[in-house]
């Protein structure tokens, strides 16, 4: 998205309800800044993230998609994030294989106590995606207004 001639990326952050979502809350409570471009979608566990959600986000205009979940070993459902880890690794590798910039996707483990990490992660990710520019390779023109 161009705002006053400046590129502002749209970022979708899928956050696990039990950790990163609370982490985002904590970041807010502590008045830690992270860019408003980050739109959070709450999911019940990192392994709820269907690969199609990610593609869908890109289709609808996201420039970057990040998944945040509980640290390995701390998943509320014991093993969900272990499965998510394998799936995302393979999916990201496939996106890369198709020539889609691999820095547009990321996974980060953020606990409910890590408000600062949440903010830092988002700042860093937004910066990376801003450098990459607009998502052109996975866009759907019909969804662009």
């Amino acid at each position: 998205m161009q705002v006053n001639g400046e590129f502002k990326p749209k970022i979708v952050a899928f956050c696990c309800n039990w950790c990163s979502y609370a982490g985002a809350d904590l970041a807010g409570n502590n008045r830690l800044n992270y860019p408003a471009e980050v739109k959070i979608i709450r999911i019940p566990c990192s392994c709820r993230l269907n690969p199609m959600f990610i593609l869908r986000a890109f289709q609808r205009g996201a420039d970057g998609v990040i998944l945040c979940g509980c640290h390995p070993g701390d998943c509320h459902y014991t093993t969900g994030n272990y499965y998510a880890r394998r799936r995302m690794t393979l999916l990201f590798s496939m996106l890369d294989y198709l020539g889609i910039e691999r820095e547009r996707t990321r996974v980060e483990w953020v606990s409910a106590a890590e408000g600062a990490k949440f903010a830092a992660t988002m700042n860093d990710f937004v910066q990376t995606v801003t450098k990459l520019g607009e998502n052109r390779r996975l866009e759907d023109l019909r969804c662009k207004k």
Binding site: G73, R86, L90, D96, L98, R102, E139
Partner: protein
């Protein structure tokens, strides 16, 4: 190849099975289609086993094995992997199937034959290392190896994993088949080159769903792509998103379960190299989570329904393979 037909008749006559799953001629002699035979007469009339029996019969057993009575199925080595994988996923009623393993010398592709400059082919037969083609313009010979379909040129294994009886001899795995060579080549390209390559390939897709329909791993009762609101159900693409979406997700859904049987690429009317997507996942899982061959046995856990505590993080992708930018 009369042996196979003879066996089909024998099995039916002896009452050992009530039906036989095999191949019969479709539109053209090289276009063989799977068929179920219930009488000896039908078999005598229509049953064919030829170098064009590429079609994998395993998937048909999902429905056929649930019917009454026993069915005999002829499985080539690659088909037997799919069969075992389906058994593993509890999709086939094993008691109702009598598996006849058939030795395989590789299946031919009419396009490969045409590429050798042979036109107007009306029949073929294998004679040792050559394929003799009867054509409208007289007999022509091509080396058998040159007439092979893509998947048979890079066949991972000639081993029939599971069978009740065997016609011919059982073969072995071929670790040097080179099936990942092209994947490695793509990985070594730049992201731009890869994107251009896939654009060129995937934009030809007409979204006919043949690749999904034929795939033994794609046997979901309800498929995500049968969804009109998804925008992937037809070829009215505004740009490349739908194809990318379809191809990424299709390959992803079969990751860890795809036996690399090659059916998807074989049936694609647009000759899209779908195997290069499937093999990417196979190569990745092999490299990151240990060697795994879907359908090779009934016990091991597929990589995507398994994990270890010290699996690599998704960020390995940023540093692995290719030069990225």
């Amino acid at each position: 190849m009369q042996e196979v037909k003879q066996k089909a008749i024998e099995l039916l006559q002896s009452g050992k099975v009530q039906r036989v799953l095999g191949w019969k001629t479709g539109e053209f002699f090289y276009d063989l289609t799977p068929a179920v035979f219930e009488t000896v007469e039908e078999i005598k009339k229509d049953f064919v086993f030829s170098p064009f029996c590429g079609a994998n019969l395993s998937k048909y057993l999902i429905a056929e094995s649930r019917k009454e009575g026993k069915i005999a199925a002829f499985l080539k080595p690659c088909d037997s992997y799919s069969f075992v994988q389906l058994l593993k996923e509890h999709r086939i009623v094993r008691e109702n199937v009598h598996v006849v393993g058939v030795q395989c010398n590789g299946m031919c592709d009419i396009e490969a034959i045409k590429a050798q400059g042979v036109k107007g082919v009306t029949a073929v037969r294998q004679e040792g290392e050559t394929l003799v083609c009867e054509t409208l313009y007289g007999e022509k010979s091509v080396p058998y190896a040159a007439a092979l379909s893509e998947r048979c040129k890079t066949c991972k294994s000639k081993k029939i994993v599971l069978f009740d009886e065997l016609l011919g001899e059982n073969g072995e795995d071929d670790p040097d088949c080179g099936r990942f060579d092209l994947v490695s080549k793509l990985e070594a390209m730049t992201a731009e080159e890869r994107f251009a390559f896939w654009q060129q390939e995937l934009s030809r897709c007409i979204r006919c769903n043949a690749c999904r329909n034929v795939c033994p791993a794609c046997s979901c009762e309800k498929c995500v792509f049968d969804n009109d609101t998804l925008g992937t159900a037809n070829k009215a693409a505004a740009n490349s998103f739908e194809e990318q979406n379809f191809h990424i997700i299709r390959a992803f859904h079969v990751a860890g379960r795809c036996t690399d049987c090659g059916e998807c690429s074989r049936v694609c009317p647009q000759h899209i190299p779908l195997h290069l997507l499937n093999r990417k996942f196979i190569k990745d899982t092999n490299e990151l989570y240990g060697e795994y061959q879907a359908g090779a046995d009934l016990e091991t856990r597929p990589p995507l329904v398994d994990f270890t505590q010290d699996d690599c993080e998704p960020s390995v992708v940023y540093t692995r393979g290719g030069n990225g930018k």
